[in-house]
Symmetry: C2
Subunit: 388 residues, 2 copies
C-alpha cells in the first residue's frame, strides 16, 4: 500500500522577512531535502501553494521551486490556490498523487510574501477570497467577515465575555515559546480581553489580539509512500484526509454551521477510523480567535454553543487532554497565507516525531489533527497524521 | 484499469462576452452535465482553472462551480494555475485523480474574463507569468517576449519571410468556420504578412495578426474511467499525458530549445506508445504564430529549423496529413487564459467523436495530440487523446 507520509520538512521563521518571495522558496526547498534525506533527483512532482491576489507582481509562481534547485528543472509543477487553505490543498494534492501511485515523491512548498505591500492592498488582496467583498473597499478587511460570525455567535449563544481574550492569551503563551513564531510576547487574558490603545477594536467584538498578523514565510515538506521513507523514524503517515467545499456565497448558508468544515473533518477522521478523542493534539485554523472557538465546536471537541468549556476544562492547553495549536497557531505563529496549511502539517509532524523543541507537548503524541480553512469556511481541508 | 476519459464537455463561444466570470462558469457547468449525461451528484472532485492575475477582483474562484449547481455544495474543489497552461494543468489533475483511483468523476472547468479590464491592466496581468517582466511596464506585453523568440529564430535559421503570415492565414481560415471562435474573418497571407494600418507591428517582427486576442470564455469537461462513461460512444480516452516544467528564468535556457515542452510531449507520446506520425490531428498552443512555428519543430512534426516545410508540404492544413489547430487555435478561436487548455481538449474530443461540425477534419480521426504551454514554455502540458 502506498500510505502517504511526510518524510521530511522545513519551515522559515514567520514574520516580517527581508527575503524576497523567491528567496523564501529557496530557503525551504534546500532545507526540506536536507531534512528528508531525499536527493532532489527523486522528486517527480512539485506542488506550490501561493495565494498572492496581487501582493506580489509574479503571478505564476510554480516555477520558483526549480529556480532554487536546478535538479528540479523538468519536474512537473503546479500552483494550487484555495484562499487561506491553499497550503493544505497543496498537501492533499501530494497525498492523493502518492496514494494513487501517480507520483512517488512530491515536494510541497507553501509561501507568501505580504509585508512588502501597503496595508490597503493587503486588505484588498485578502477580500479577494470573498464573493461579496471582492473588489470592494473595507476598513476592517477579512476581520469584518469574522466579526459577523462573532456577532452571530453572541446572538445565538449569549455574550462571549472574555472567551476570545482567553483564546488569544493561550495563543500568545504558545507562540512565545516557538522560535518560528512571529508574535513571541506573552499577553495575559486581561490585556487581550480589554480594549485599549495597544489593543484597539478592529471589527465588531474583535480586537487586535483576536487577529492573526500579516506575515512573510514559507514551509515545505516531502510526501512519499511510508515504506519508501529514507528516514523511517521521522516519517509521519496520513491516516486520513478530508476535503469539502461550501457555498462561496455566505448568504446561502448559516453563518455558524460551517457545514463544509464539519464534512471535511468527519471525512478525515472516518478514513483514519478515529474519533476526535483519539487525537493527541490539533493544529487548527485560528485566523481569528472566533474561528478557533467555532472550530472547538465544529470539530467536535465540545458540543455546539459550548466551545468555552474547552478552555474551562483546560482541554486545549498544552498540558490538556487535547492541546490545540501548541505552535501558537495562525494567531501567534503567523499567517503567510500560502504557507499556512503546509506549516500546520509541519508543526504537527514535529510534535509527532518529538522534535517540536520548546513547544513539544508532553506524553509522546501519536495522532494529530490538522484543520485548515479558506475564505469563510468555503474551502475546508483536514488531515489526520499518525506515527506508529 | 481506470483509463481516464473525457465523457462529456461544453464550451462557450469565445470573444467579448457580456456575461460575468460567475455566469460563464455557470453556463459551462450545466451544459457539461447535460452533454455527459452525468448527474451532478456523481461528481467527487472539482478542478477550476483560472489565471486571473488581477483581471477580476475575486481571487479565490474554486467555489464558483458549486455556486452554479447546488448539488456540488460540498464536493472538494481546488483552483490550479500554471499561467496559460492552467487549463491543461486542471485536466491533468483530473486525469491523475481518476487514473489513481482517488476520484471516480471529476468536473474540470476553465474560465477567464479579460475584456472588462483596461488594456494596460491586461498587459500587466499577463506579464505576471514572466519572472523578469512581472511588475514592469511594457508597451508590447507578452508579445514582446515571443518577439524575442522570433528574432532568435531568424538569427539562427534565417529570415522568416512570410512564414508567420502563412500560419496566421491558416488560423484565420480555420477560425472562420468555427462558431465558437472569436475571430471569424478569413484573412489572406498577403494581409497577414504585410504591415499596414489594419495590421500594425506589435513587437519585433510580430504583427497584430500574429497575436491571439484578448478573450472571455469558459470550457468544461467531465473525466471518468472509460468503463464508467455514461455515453460510451462519446468517450475519448487519454492514451497518455506529459507534464514538464522549465526554468522560469529565460536567461538560464536557450530561447529556441523549449526543452520542457519537448519533454512533456515525449512523455505523452511514449505513454501512449505512439509517434507523432501516428496522430491524426493536433491542437497546439499558438498564443503567437511564432509559437506555432516553434512547436512544429519541438513536437517533431518537422526537423528543427524546418518548420516552414509543414506549410510547404500542406501537412498542417485541415486536409493535410496532420491538421494543426483545425479549431482556429488560440490565434483565432481566442485565448481566455484559464479556459484555453480545457478548450483544446474539448476541440480535440469533438474531432475524435466526429462532432466538430463545420471544422471537422476528414477521415474519422482516432488520435489527437494536445499541447498547451504556460509562460515562455515554462509550464508544459501534453495529452494524447484516443477513440477506439
Amino acid at each position: 500500500m502506498n500510505t502517504p507520509s511526510i518524510v521530511g520538512w522545513s519551515h522559515t521563521p514567520f514574520g516580517r522577512r527581508e527575503e524576497s518571495l523567491a528567496e523564501l522558496v529557496a530557503e525551504v526547498v534546500d532545507a526540506a531535502f536536507e531534512h528528508a534525506g531525499v536527493d532532489p533527483g527523486r522528486v517527480d512532482e512539485i506542488v506550490l501553494s501561493h495565494y498572492n491576489g496581487g501582493l506580489q507582481p509574479l503571478v505564476s509562481t510554480s516555477g520558483l521551486v526549480a529556480q532554487a534547485q536546478p535538479a528540479l528543472r523538468h519536474v512537473p509543477a503546479v500552483r494550487v490556490e484555495n484562499a487561506c487553505a491553499s497550503g493544505s490543498a497543496a498537501v492533499h494534492h501530494a497525498v492523493r498523487s502518492v496514494a494513487g501511485g501517480q507520483s512517488l515523491c512530491v515536494l510541497v512548498v507553501g509561501v507568501e510574501k505580504m509585508t512588502d505591500a501597503p496595508a490597503e492592498l493587503i486588505g484588498q488582496a485578502l477580500l479577494g477570497a470573498d464573493l461579496e467583498m471582492a473588489g470592494k473597499s473595507s476598513t476592517s478587511g477579512f476581520a469584518g467577515l469574522f466579526a459577523q460570525i462573532a456577532l452571530a455567535y453572541e446572538a445565538r449563544y449569549g455574550a462571549l465575555g472574555n472567551t476570545l481574550g482567553r483564546i488569544a492569551a493561550k495563543s500568545h503563551a504558545n507562540g512565545a515559546l516557538n522560535p518560528l513564531a512571529q508574535l513571541r510576547r506573552p499577553l495575559d487574558i486581561d490585556f487581550c480581553a480589554t480594549t485599549s490603545e495597544q489593543n484597539p477594536i478592529v471589527a465588531g467584538p474583535l480586537r487586535r489580539t483576536d487577529c492573526s498578523p500579516v506575515s512573510d514565510g514559507a514551509a515545505a515538506l516531502v510526501v512519499m509512500a511510508q515504506r519508501q521513507a529514507p528516514r523511517p523514524g521521522q516519517a509521519v503517515r496520513f491516516g486520513g484526509i478530508g476535503r469539502a467545499h461550501d457555498f462561496l456565497d455566505r448568504s446561502r448558508r448559516d453563518p455558524l454551521e460551517f457545514a463544509g468544515a464539519e464534512a471535511a473533518w468527519r471525512g478525515a477522521l472516518s478514513t483514519a477510523g478515529l474519533q476526535v478523542d483519539d487525537l493527541d493534539l490539533i493544529e487548527l485554523h485560528d485566523c481569528f480567535t472566533i474561528a478557533e472557538l467555532q472550530l472547538y465546536e465544529v470539530l467536535g471537541i465540545t458540543r455546539r454553543g459550548h466551545g468555552v468549556t474547552a478552555l474551562d476544562e483546560g482541554v486545549v492547553y498544552p498540558d490538556g487532554r487535547l492541546p490545540v495549536n501548541p505552535s501558537g497557531g495562525l494567531k501567534s505563529k503567523g499567517h503567510p497565507i500560502g504557507a499556512t496549511g503546509v506549516s500546520q502539517h509541519v508543526s504537527a509532524a514535529m510534535q509527532l516525531t518529538g522534535t517540536a523543541g520548546t513547544v513539544q507537548v508532553a506524553g509522546s503524541p501519536r495522532r494529530a489533527g490538522v484543520f485548515n480553512l479558506g475564505g469563510v469556511a468555503v474551502a475546508n481541508h483536514a488531515s489526520v497524521l499518525e506515527v506508529p
